[in-house]
Point group: C2
Chain length 196, copies 2
């Protein structure tokens, strides 16, 4: 009965993707049904197919939107000509911020990309690998210029990416610590360590 409002936020497809991201995060992609998604939007399941082609397409939209956001930001950082340490700091800050205002989407992209169908699955993995390699280059460059310790670049990037991804589980404890506190603390920890 009630139509999906194509609000100022975006097209109807966007509204569906937004609600789907919230549902997929809570229950997982495979465990979420189109009936549930319809219900959360106030319409019947088959009505969804007036706007999207398949359940799988919704997951594609979510995952590639997130991947694109990260790629665009990385390109900006790379062109700034800052030091490696500043670049890494800015990347960590971006990860934290995007986790705050696009929590559901980033979570789904991180956890449910396996459920993508080919050729989207391969494409997504390539983009991830490329992003990771760019970060490795930043670290390597920083070591060469003497800005960073002589660490193994891959290990450093893995550690950083894993740590920022873990902000997922902070979201639940929002009351106990603010976003800026978390951001500051994690950057210090990752860049300057724990030892006194």
């Amino acid at each position: 009965m009630a139509k999906i409002k194509a609000s100022r936020n975006g097209t109807k497809k966007d509204v569906i993707a937004k609600k789907a991201a919230a549902l997929f995060r809570k229950k997982g992609f495979a465990a979420s049904s189109m009936r549930e998604l319809g219900e959360s939007l106030g319409i019947e399941a088959p009505s969804l197919y007036n706007h999207i082609g398949s359940k799988s397409e919704i997951l594609q939209i979510i995952c590639f939107k997130v991947a694109n956001d990260f790629n665009i930001h990385l390109a900006q950082v790379e062109n700034k000509g800052e030091s490696a340490l500043n670049k890494l700091g800015e990347i960590i800050r971006f990860h934290i911020n995007i986790m705050i205002h696009s929590f559901d989407e980033v979570f789904v992209a991180n956890h449910e990309w396996k459920q993508l169908q080919e050729p989207f699955l391969s494409n997504f993995l390539i983009q991830r690998k490329t992003y990771e390699n760019s970060l490795i280059s930043i670290v390597s460059e920083g070591i060469k210029k003497g800005d960073l310790k002589n660490v193994h670049p891959y290990v450093a990037v893995l550690t950083i990416l894993s740590a920022v991804r873990g902000i997922e589980s902070w979201h639940r404890n929002k009351k106990n610590i603010s976003a800026t506190e978390l951001e500051k603390g994690m950057i210090i920890h990752l860049l300057k360590g724990l030892t006194k």
Copy 2:
């Protein structure tokens, strides 16, 4: 036709749980069917029910086995009376090692615990929270004794736990770096930082 061999590795239930962990890791719990699990064991799906009560029970076995392993190790570390830095180092090492020899199980426990049914879901979450709180205590103690920087204990623990969990995605690149290299590098990074 072929019976499941109750090998020296453990009971038939254990063999099923092992294969299920591999399947659930690759495809996700909800996206894995009992028919697929049966096939990977060389038997028909209904035959599984001679050994296990339900699909959900398999997930319970996997998750609580992992939780128990971590709890036992933590208790050992806590009773050793080492410094906070040494305790944390040993915990990080344990996470890395268990990720190597029980990769599928740890991965499933980390990613699929949401699919547990009550009261197992609540119980699992309480155990996780308790584990996390114990680590926070170790960090707090280390700060009080002057061994560690005056960081926010929760942020430090979140960063460490997230980073070691990320070893998941290293597993794919085994060729490029050895386990000991990874272990050493990550411990240095997490405890001593990246800055020169």
